[in-house]
């Protein structure tokens, strides 16, 4: 059986190595962080050289960028979009609002921790990280994929009820 696994791992390894070179991010700007994305894609910082390009629909893309504060209304849409994406899919949390609520810590509508509701692979700190920081985030994600550690989507499936319970607590849908 080991041969099967080794082959399986070997096969997966090569794939991961190739897969990290072509990541498509969902062009879905949830909050103020979205303004940082155009500079990272266009001429000055050119994310396309790493194979990262913006794509429109959730079916086609791999990375879900959560760029900023997440209030209840956005969270409901975020969950739908996340579930529409095809595995392996990754979530990157921009800025401090996704980490601990940031400046909206006392707001009645803003959620404090993103990873309660969605499995987050990479956080990029900063109250809106600069394009360099965003690119650094992308590179860490690519390193994680390469090492096969970026399996947030598997975590979501395994403890699906935990995530759903959290979401139902907040969203009441």
């Amino acid at each position: 059986m080991e041969l099967q696994e080794t082959l399986e791992e070997g096969y997966v390894e090569i794939l991961d190595h190739l897969r990290k070179r072509s990541l498509w991010m969902l062009h879905y700007c949830t909050a103020c962080g979205a303004v940082e994305l155009p500079p990272t894609i266009t001429s000055r910082f050119d994310a396309e050289r790493f194979g990262i390009a913006p794509f429109v629909t959730s079916r086609q893309s791999d990375i879900l960028l959560v760029t900023g504060y997440i209030n209840i209304k956005t969270l409901k849409r975020l969950v739908t979009v996340y579930e529409q994406m095809l595995p392996p899919k990754y979530v990157i949390g921009f800025g401090s609002c996704t980490i601990n609520g940031g400046i909206y810590w006392d707001s009645y509508a803003v959620v404090k921790r993103l990873d309660l509701y969605l499995p987050v692979d990479v956080y990029i700190a900063g109250c809106m990280p600069t394009p360099m920081a965003v690119l650094e985030g992308f590179r860490t994600l690519m390193k994680l994929i390469d090492e096969g550690k970026a399996n947030g989507w598997r975590k979501y499936i395994e403890n699906y009820d935990y995530y759903k319970a959290n979401q139902r607590k907040v969203l009441k849908w």
Binding site: I72, G101, Y108, V111, R113, L171, K172
Partner: protein, 157 residues
């Protein structure tokens, strides 16, 4: 310009500065005042909201109307009681007041007669608590209760 307003509206008029006038009126003549102001070249309604005066247990409705010709901003204020507050819609005078009235309903709990979406959820879907912009609503308590925070101790090195 103030004289013409005085002629038309009976209410306490305070001229803060050449471009800004505050008009306090009783709540039943609120929409007639706005109507009169619209006649006097105050064509644009820039804001229509309320303020919660907890101590006198009243809401204060505030409508900001602006006149382009003579560059004057008129702030019309009136007081309405806080228990089951209801007001007439002003969309027939200023159509763009529609969304403001929906927000009044959601954030203050003021029912607006004549506005179809008056008490329907707009931003806060599935909200059971007090309307959040009322002073007696404690936002921090609500946030800490409902949204689990990340307990991490910060190391300053």
């Amino acid at each position: 310009m103030v004289e013409e307003i005085k002629k038309v509206i009976k209410g306490e008029i305070l001229e803060k500065s050449p471009q800004r006038i505050i008009i306090k009126v009783k709540n039943d003549s609120f929409s007639s005042t706005l109507n009169a102001l619209k006649g006097l070249s105050f064509k644009r309604l820039t804001l229509f909201t309320a303020v919660d005066f907890v101590k006198d247990n009243q809401f204060e409705l505030v409508a900001l109307v602006y006149s382009n010709e003579n560059k004057i901003l008129a702030i019309v204020k009136t007081r309405i009681p806080k228990e089951n507050p209801e007001i007439e819609t002003i969309t027939n005078i200023y159509p763009n007041a529609f969304k403001y009235e929906v927000e009044l309903g959601e954030m203050f709990g003021i029912k607006v007669i004549g506005n179809p979406d008056s008490m329907k959820p707009f931003l806060l879907e599935g909200w059971e608590d007090l309307p959040p912009l009322r002073k007696d609503f404690d936002s921090i308590k609500y946030a800490t209760e409902h949204y689990e925070a990340r307990n991490v101790e910060v190391k300053y090195d």
